[in-house]
Amino acid sequence: MTLPSVSPAIEFAEVSLRYGEGMRTSVALDSVALSMKPRSFVGILGPSGSGKSSLLYLASGLKQPSAGEVRVAGRELAKLSAAEMVALRRSMFGIVFQQPYLLHYLSAAENIGVGLPQREMNAAEKVGELALRLGIDSLLHKLPHELSGGERQRVCIARAVIGSPPILLADEPTAALDHANGHEVMNLLVSCREFATVMVVTHDPEMLEGADMVVRMRDGRVEDVSVSQ
């Protein structure tokens, strides 16, 4: 699936997210308005608790907003049925989490295969080609416990992009990694801009050098948006 290049890939329209009720309400996001272009690399920066992860989970439909609209490729997520949401997530999103979780009993290659939206005859070739591109072809036969943290995160990225999703979301993918590994993983994500809108959460501005757009969050609000030319 590809996105029309004119309309925004992901759009937040006055989106709020609250937890709890009454006195104990905490506001995770407060009237956030953002628009991300297709095939752009968007970095989300901000201190802990500023709502970065919330933004990402709303974009992927894993959480629903308390107010406002989240639109993906022009479709409002709240209007989708549960089944449509699952199908959309399968076909449109690749998601990378802070902790690189892999199925422990599957080899790296098999774990990458988990990310394919449907069963494919040439799954093995696809995995092989992708691994070559990501430089992890020597790891394919290894089990997760035989991989380093950085290697595991790269396998997770491969799992997220194997289906060539038009949107790639990553929540602090480099947090568990050392500097060198972090940079490599980040470069990998930047390269995914070729086919996808990439939205990466991080608290390290240094990691976002090549970004098309950097969003700074504070206390659930967008503090600043900088767009590079």
């Binding site: 076909s91 979780y101 988990v114 799992r159």
Partner: protein, 382 residues
């Protein structure tokens, strides 16, 4: 080398089963052992009524009427029986008794004193024929019996079957084994004249044999229902089955309770284990949900995993049971002349609740937890 099929379908239930032996083997072993236990218990318990029905199987081909409050048959009783079943053949039977071993202790077995011409008819009606030796001579202290009884009593031709000094197998003078019989049922016969003279307190009976096994069933019903119970008793296959079932009913009840307890215990344990395993796999399920697998897909996969577990364990349990019971029958029971059918179908039917209960418990546990699971919070907590 990378196997391609597992990359195509990495979430197959079979792959999970194969790659996680440490998780699956304990459940498989517990379930298989429960199957062995249940099938073993049911087979052994069932062997009791099988033994009774086999031992006294001759009753399928003949019914016997005995007097009440008397040792001898009165003429009135004879004519009453003949009037009831005019087409059946009747003849006198005077029993001597021997005791045979069974799994549940000794059981009396009649050595029928029958006249020469009746004995031939009796043997033919029961499909029994002489294989070694000869039939007992008229008036002689001699016995011919089925091979199975001889084996059970550990007797060879020429051995003493009944003896004045024996408690279990008494006769006023020693009676020898002179012939062995073979056929679908157990039978032991002696000379009518000898038994009549030397067993003065034996209750005489009137054997009634119909033209076929079929007509024997209707004879049974007539005798059982029509005869005056205060003067006569009918010994039929029908009453044998009824009495056996009655006598064993509490044993069967106990057996069923035990089967249920085993099934529930194994199921509860497996359900708990499934819960623990689910806890260990939370990350896996949450990740799969987050990257776009539906709950329905995950449930189907879990059903597949549990089904594979149950089928593998059940099959394994059956194989072990069959091997064990064949061994038991061949090396323990048979040499002692005891009956045990290692392929008794009911025994294997009784094992079905075990994998079924296990499957349901595990599935309910996992389904409930899967529905409660919040993928995002699992992922964030990690």
């Amino acid at each position: 080398m990378i196997r391609t099929t597992s990359i195509q379908n990495p979430l197959s239930a079979w792959l999970y089963f194969r790659r996680n032996p440490a998780r699956n083997l304990p459940v498989v072993v517990a379930l298989a052992l429960a199957v062995v236990l249940v099938a073993g218990i049911v087979t052994i318990v069932s062997s009791v009524d099988q033994t009774v029905l086999t031992m006294y199987g001759y009753q399928r081909y003949l019914s016997i009427v005995t007097p009440r409050n008397a040792l001898r048959l009165s003429d009135e009783l004879r004519s009453e029986v003949i009037k009831l079943v005019p087409n059946a053949r009747t003849f006198d039977v005077i029993p001597a008794w021997t005791n045979v071993r069974t799994v549940f202790g000794k059981m009396p077995f009649p050595i029928m004193g029958v006249a020469h011409q009746d004995r031939e008819f009796l043997a033919e009606a029961c499909g029994v024929s002489l294989v070694t030796g000869r039939w007992p001579a008229k008036g002689a202290p001699e016995i011919a019996m089925s091979e199975a009884i001889a084996k059970n009593r550990d007797l060879k031709l020429g051995d003493i079957v009944l003896d004045p000094k024996s408690e279990d197998n008494f006769a006023a003078e020693p009676m020898k084994l002179v012939g062995t019989l073979r056929g679908p049922v157990w039978l032991a016969v002696a000379s009518a004249e000898f038994v009549r003279d030397r067993f003065p307190v034996a209750i005489h009976g009137l054997a009634v044999i119909g033209a076929s096994e079929q007509s024997q069933r209707s004879i049974d019903v007539l005798l059982d229902k029509q005869l005056d119970k205060s003067t006569a008793r009918a010994w039929t296959y029908r009453t044998l089955v009824r009495d056996t079932r009655d006598a064993l009913s509490s044993l069967y009840l106990m057996m069923r309770v035990i089967v249920v307890i085993i099934a529930v215990t194994v199921a509860l344990l497996a359900g708990m284990l499934a819960g623990i395993h689910f806890g260990q796999r939370l990350g896996e399920f949450a990740t799969l949900v987050a990257i776009g697998y539906s709950q329905r897909f995950l449930l189907r996969r879990i059903v597949g995993e549990i089904a594979i577990l149950c089928v593998v364990a059940w099959t394994l349990g059956l194989l072990v049971t069959v091997a064990m019971l064949f061994g038991l029958a061949k090396w323990v029971m048979e040499p002692r002349g005891l009956l045990l059918d290692p392929m008794y179908p009911a025994a294997y039917l009784y094992t079905l609740p075990v994998p079924f209960a296990l499957g349901v418990f595990s599935l309910v546990t996992v389904t409930r937890r899967l529905h409660k699971m919040d993928a995002v919070s699992v992922i964030e907590r990690r």
